[in-house]
Symmetry: C2
Subunit: 94 residues, 2 copies
């Protein structure tokens, strides 16, 4: 079924304790290629029919109203689910 993806990340200036914990674990496990880790949420909204511009606009409204706490989070992406190879069919930056 067609799926719209919404991605929400903590605002850059907000402390991300979970991300820091994972980054610390990576260092302890000698996997220090990565300088920092940030953790956010990924929503998949399934729709019955084709994905239209109206549906994308509705998904963005829902993302900002319900799915993200816009005080501490940013909606960074609203668009069709990516193919396995990373190609994106139709998308609008959030």
């Amino acid at each position: 079924m067609p799926t719209i993806v919404v991605e929400v990340m903590p605002k850059a200036e907000i402390l991300d304790p979970q991300g820091k914990a994972v980054a610390g674990a990576l260092v302890r496990l000698d996997r220090s290629e990565f300088t920092s880790v940030r953790i956010g949420k990924r929503f998949e909204l399934t729709v019955d029919g084709p994905i239209t511009a109206d549906l994308l606009a509705e998904a963005r409204a829902i993302a900002n109203d319900l799915l993200a706490n816009t005080v501490i989070e940013d909606v960074i992406y609203v668009g069709e689910a990516r193919g396995a190879d990373g190609s994106q069919t139709a998308a609008e930056g959030a």
Copy 2:
């Protein structure tokens, strides 16, 4: 800084109570365009230098070892962070 994105979603056959709760809230708010909602995690791993194939392979290993509980979750994507317009520069399906 160059960033590798790792996306983790609950396995399809696994019950997603959080997703169901959000889907229920959408119905109660008369926003019923979306038939189901699933919620996963999005990690951003920041690296100092350029993103190489080795780094992507390391990120995938870390994703499967540490970032996902592979009993109930799938790593669905490991690749460079998407540009704001949804275009993906270099990516490998997870």
